[in-house]
C-alpha cells in the first residue's frame, strides 16, 4: 500500500484578523507612540506581519501617570467583588476570541497552532478566571485580614508565550487591586495589544491596563521608572540582573522569572514510553523556547541505550513545518538572532566532543527553522550542558546512582524546574526533596496550571507566579 502522507491542514490565517498596523494602549485609548514604529515578522516566512507603534520615555511617563491615576481614583478603592466582574468578563471575552488569538499568536511567534490553540490561549484565559476568584477573597489568602495593593506595576515579558505571560502579569496584579504598565517583547507584541482591546471592550476603567510595545530600551526605561511600586519581569538572567541592580535600594517590589537548564531525570524503573513522551514534550514543546524546558536529560546508565533508541524513533515522528498546520509539532524559531544563538551553541557542542544526532524529518527551506537535535556523550563541563540554548536541542547525560543524579541535576546556576521519572514513589519523593528547583514535575513535564505556583531558585529568579503564593508579590502585608 502507498505511503500515507497527511495532507496540509492549515488553520486559516484570516482568523487572526491581522491588521496592517497596531497602536499602543495608553490610558484606555489606542494612541500613536512617539517612538520609532517597529515591524513584527512572521518567523515562518520572515515576512512583515504588521507595523507597531513603540513608546518613548514621555509615553512611559504618561502611561505610569495614567496607571497611577486609575489606581488612586478607581481601581484601588474599588471593592474586590467589582474588580472580579471585570476579570471574569475579560476571561470570557478571551474564550470567545480564542481562535483569533491562537492564530495571531502563531503568526507572530511561530509556535504550532496546536499549542497556541490547546495550551497558550486556554491557559491565559484560565489565569484570568482563577484570579477573578481571588479578587474578593484576598483576606483569606493568608496575608493578613485586609491586604492592600501595592500601586502601579511595571512589567516586561518575553516572546516565548506572549499572551500567556501577559495574563500571568496582568491577572494577579489586577485581582489584588494594582494597575499595570506592560511591555510585550518587540518580536511578539500583537496578542498583548488584542488583549488590550479586550480590556477596552470589557469596559475596564482607563489606565488600569496599559500596553507599551518597544525594544529593550523601552523595557529598561519602564522598569527603572520612579513612579512604579513594583516590577515583575520574565526573561533572560542577564537582563534580570540588570533590573535587580537598577532597583536595588529603591524599595520597590521585584519578582524575576529568568532562565533555566532543567534536568529530566529518568530512573531505570521508569515507565519508559511515557518518559520518552515527557522528555520530548519537555524539550520540543514550543521549539524549546521555554524557560523551564527539560534541556538536560539525565538517564540511568542501565536504560540509557534503550531510552535513546526509543527517543530517536519518537523524535523522528515529530513534524516540523508551517506553524498554522494543525499537524505541525515543531514550529518556527522566533527570530533570526535566536536561530543564530542555537546554531552557535550546537556547533560548540560538536567542537567540545558531544555526538550530534539530528531528526531526519524534512525541514522547510524558507523561514526560521531548526530541526530537533539530540546530543549524546555530553559532559557537565560542556557549554550545551551549562548554558540555556532556548531551542529544540536536548543534551543527554547519564548517571549511575540516585545521588549522582541529584548532584548532576543541581550542578547548574539555574533552578527553575526539574522532572523525575520513576514508578517508585519513595525514590520520587527522595529525589524531589533534594532538587534545588522551583517546580519539580513527577512523571510528567511542562504542565501548567494557574493554581500551581511557578518560579525559580538561584539564577532562575525569585518570587512565584500563580496560586496563593503568587498573590504575595502583588500585596502589601
Amino acid at each position: 500500500m502507498a505511503a500515507w502522507e497527511y495532507a496540509p491542514a492549515p488553520e486559516s490565517a484570516a482568523t487572526g484578523r491581522l491588521q496592517p498596523s497596531y497602536r499602543m494602549f495608553l490610558g484606555g485609548e489606542f494612541v500613536d507612540g512617539s517612538g520609532e514604529p517597529l515591524k513584527t515578522l512572521n518567523p515562518a516566512t520572515e515576512e512583515v506581519l504588521a507595523e507597531v507603534s513603540t513608546a518613548n520615555p514621555s509615553d512611559i511617563d504618561d502611561a505610569v501617570a495614567a496607571a497611577r491615576n486609575a489606581y488612586e481614583q478607581v481601581w484601588g478603592p474599588m471593592p474586590g467583588v467589582e474588580r472580579a466582574k471585570y476579570l471574569f468578563r475579560i476571561a470570557r471575552m478571551m474564550a470567545e476570541r480564542s481562535r483569533e488569538l491562537a492564530v495571531l499568536e502563531t503568526l507572530d511567534n511561530g509556535k504550532p497552532i496546536r499549542e497556541s490553540r490547546d495550551t497558550d490561549i486556554p491557559l491565559a484565559g484560565a489565569h484570568f478566571f482563577y484570579h477573578a476568584g481571588w479578587a474578593d477573597k484576598l483576606g483569606y489568602a493568608g496575608y493578613g485580614p485586609d491586604p492592600k495593593p501595592l500601586g502601579v506595576v511595571g512589567s516586561v515579558i518575553p516572546w516565548n508565550f506572549p499572551l500567556l505571560m501577559a495574563a500571568w502579569k496582568i491577572a494577579p496584579a489586577l485581582a489584588a487591586g494594582n494597575t499595570i504598565v506592560l511591555k510585550p517583547a518587540e518580536t511578539t507584541p500583537l496578542t498583548a495589544l488584542v488583549l488590550a482591546e479586550i480590556c477596552q471592550q470589557a469596559g475596564l476603567p482607563p489606565g488600569v491596563v496599559n500596553v507599551l510595545p518597544g525594544a529593550g530600551d523601552v523595557g529598561a526605561a519602564l522598569v527603572g521608572h520612579p513612579g512604579l511600586d513594583k516590577v515583575a519581569f520574565t526573561g533572560s538572567t542577564d537582563v534580570g540582573k540588570q533590573i535587580q541592580r537598577t532597583l536595588a535600594g529603591t524599595g520597590r517590589g521585584l519578582t524575576l522569572e529568568l532562565g533555566g537548564k532543567a534536568a529530566n531525570i529518568v530512573y531505570d524503573d521508569a515507565a519508559l514510553d511515557q518518559a520518552v513522551e515527557g522528555v520530548v514534550n519537555g524539550i520540543f514543546f514550543n521549539q524549546g523556547h521555554v524557560c523551564c524546558a527539560g534541556s538536560r536529560l539525565l538517564v540511568q546508565e542501565s536504560v540509557a541505550e534503550e531510552l535513546i533508541e526509543l527517543l530517536q524513533a519518537r523524535i523522528s515522528t515529530l513534524r516540523i513545518g508551517d506553524p498554522l498546520d494543525k499537524n505541525t509539532d515543531v514550529g518556527a524559531i522566533n527570530s533570526r538572532a535566536q536561530l543564530e544563538k542555537i546554531t552557535e551553541l550546537t556547533a560548540a557542542g560538536e567542537t567540545e566532543g558531544a555526538t550530534r544526532w539530528t531528526s531526519p524529518c524534512p525541514v522547510p527551506q524558507r523561514g526560521l527553522f531548526f530541526p530537533p537535535t539530540l546530543f549524546t556523550g555530553v559532559e557537565q563541563s560542556m557549554r550545551i550542558a551549562r548554558e540555556e540554548i532556548f531551542g529544540p536541542v536536548l543534551s543527554v547525560l547519564t548517571f549511575r546512582t540516585p545521588d549522582e543524579a541529584v548532584a548532576k541535576a543541581n550542578d547548574t546556576r539555574y533552578g527553575l524546574s526539574a522532572g523525575i521519572w520513576t514508578e517508585k514513589g519513595s525514590r520520587m519523593l527522595w529525589t524531589a526533596q533534594r532538587l534545588r528547583a522551583g517546580v519539580v514535575w513527577e512523571n510528567t513535564f511542562n504542565r501548567f496550571d494557574p493554581t500551581a505556583p511557578f518560579g525559580g531558585y538561584k539564577e532562575s529568579g525569585f518570587g512565584r507566579e500563580g496560586g496563593r503564593a503568587g498573590l504575595e508579590a502583588y500585596l502589601a502585608h
Binding site: M1, D269, A271, D273, E277, E423, N443
Partner: protein, 329 residues
C-alpha cells in the same frame, strides 16, 4: 511449563531475554513482571494529543480506503442466521454497490458453526473467514472444549481464528496456563502454509490496568499470536486509543527485539470514520507505517463500515450522502 505441545518456533535473531522468557513458568513470570510499567496519565495524554491530528482531503480518502480494507466485518449474535451471513458476505465482497472501486474488507468474522457457509460464499474473493473460538466470549470452559471449538472452526475452512485468553488464569497470575492454552490453540490451527492465523483476544476491558495490557500482549506474542486483539466486543470499554497505544508499543518492541512483524486488531466500540482514523494515526505514529496493512492491523467492527462508506462518498462527491443510499448489511 506443562504443555505437551511444542512451544512456538521463535525467530533466530531473538534477543536473549525474550528467548529465555518461556523456558519455565518462573522465567515467564519474571519476564512479564520485569516489563517497564505504563504511566496511565502520560499514556492517556499522549493518546488524546495524537487524536487531534487533522486528516483532510487526499489523506482522508486514503485513510478511509485503508480502513475499509482492514475491516473484519463481524456478526456475533445469538440471532445470526444463514441469511444474515449471506448479507454480510455480499457486503464484504462489494461494500458500496454504486462504487465498485471501493476496496473489499479483509475478512468476515462469525461464530464457528457459520464459518463453513461464509467460506463457501467467499471462495475465490481473497476475503478471509475468521471464526471466534475457545468458548467465546467468556472463555469459560475446559481445555478440551476450547480445542474442539477451534478444530470445528478450522475444519469449516476458517483461515483465521479469534481466541479469547483465560482472564481468570491471567488475573490470578497463572501466566503459564494462559501461555499453554494459546500454544495449544495455535497447534490446533494447523501447520504449514494453510494454518489458520491466530488472533488472541486479551479482553482489555477486564484486565483493569495498562500494565496488565502490556503483560498480556507480551504473553500472547511469546505464545505465538499472529495478532493481539483488544476485545470481544461484548464488554465495555472495548477498543480504546490508550489500550491500542500499549498494544502497538508491544508490537514495535517485539519487532525491535526479534525482527518479526506481528499485528493488532482493535475490536468493539469503533463506529465512526473519525474514530477509525484516530486508530490509523496511532498505528502510523506509535508502531510505524509498516504496520498500516491489513496483514498487521484490523478493525473488528460491524457498523463502522457504513460510516466509512458514507464518508468516502462525501469525500469523492463533495456532498453528504444519505445512509439510505449505503444501506445496512
Amino acid at each position: 511449563m506443562t504443555s505437551t505441545v511444542a512451544a512456538p518456533q521463535l525467530p533466530a535473531e531473538l534477543s536473549l531475554d525474550v528467548a529465555q522468557a518461556t523456558t519455565d513458568e518462573a522465567s515467564l513470570r519474571r519476564f512479564l513482571r520485569g516489563l517497564p510499567g505504563v504511566d496511565a496519565v502520560g499514556l492517556e495524554l499522549r493518546a488524546a494529543t495524537l487524536a487531534t491530528r487533522s486528516i483532510k482531503r487526499a489523506s482522508k480518502v486514503h485513510a478511509i480506503d485503508t480502513a475499509i480494507s482492514m475491516i473484519d466485518l463481524t456478526t456475533l449474535e445469538g440471532a445470526d442466521t444463514p441469511g444474515r451471513v449471506r448479507a454480510l458476505c455480499a457486503k464484504a465482497r462489494q461494500p458500496d454497490r454504486e462504487r465498485p472501486d471501493t476496496p473489499q474488507v479483509a475478512a468476515v468474522c462469525v461464530y464457528p458453526d457459520l464459518a463453513a457457509q461464509a467460506v463457501q460464499l467467499l471462495r475465490g474473493t481473497g476475503i478471509h473467514v475468521a471464526a471466534v473460538a475457545t468458548a467465546f466470549p467468556s472463555g469459560r470452559s475446559s481445555r478440551e472444549i476450547k480445542l474442539a471449538d477451534t478444530e470445528l472452526a478450522v475444519a469449516a475452512g476458517a483461515s483465521e481464528v479469534d481466541m479469547v485468553i483465560d482472564r481468570a488464569a491471567f488475573l490470578t497470575g497463572s501466566y503459564g496456563r494462559v501461555f499453554d492454552e494459546i500454544v495449544a490453540v495455535k497447534a490446533a490451527c494447523g501447520t504449514g502454509e494453510n494454518r489458520a492465523h491466530l488472533k488472541v483476544i486479551l479482553e482489555t476491558g477486564e484486565l483493569g490496568s495498562y500494565d496488565d495490557v502490556r503483560r498480556a500482549s507480551w504473553l500472547a506474542l511469546l505464545a505465538g499470536a499472529d495478532m493481539i486483539k483488544t476485545s470481544t466486543g461484548k464488554i465495555s470499554p472495548a477498543a480504546t486509543l490508550p489500550v491500542a497505544h500499549v498494544m502497538l508499543q508491544a508490537l514495535r518492541d517485539w519487532y525491535r527485539r526479534t525482527g518479526e512483524y506481528r499485528g493488532v486488531k482493535a475490536a468493539g466500540g469503533i463506529r465512526t470514520t473519525k474514530e477509525a482514523i484516530r486508530f490509523l494515526v496511532a498505528v502510523h505514529e506509535v508502531a510505524g507505517e509498516q504496520w498500516l496493512t491489513p496483514d498487521l492491523f484490523r478493525f473488528g467492527a460491524s457498523s463502522l463500515l457504513g460510516d466509512l462508506l458514507l464518508q468516502r462518498r462525501t469525500q469523492l462527491e463533495g456532498h453528504y450522502a444519505s445512509p439510505d443510499q449505503i444501506g445496512d448489511l
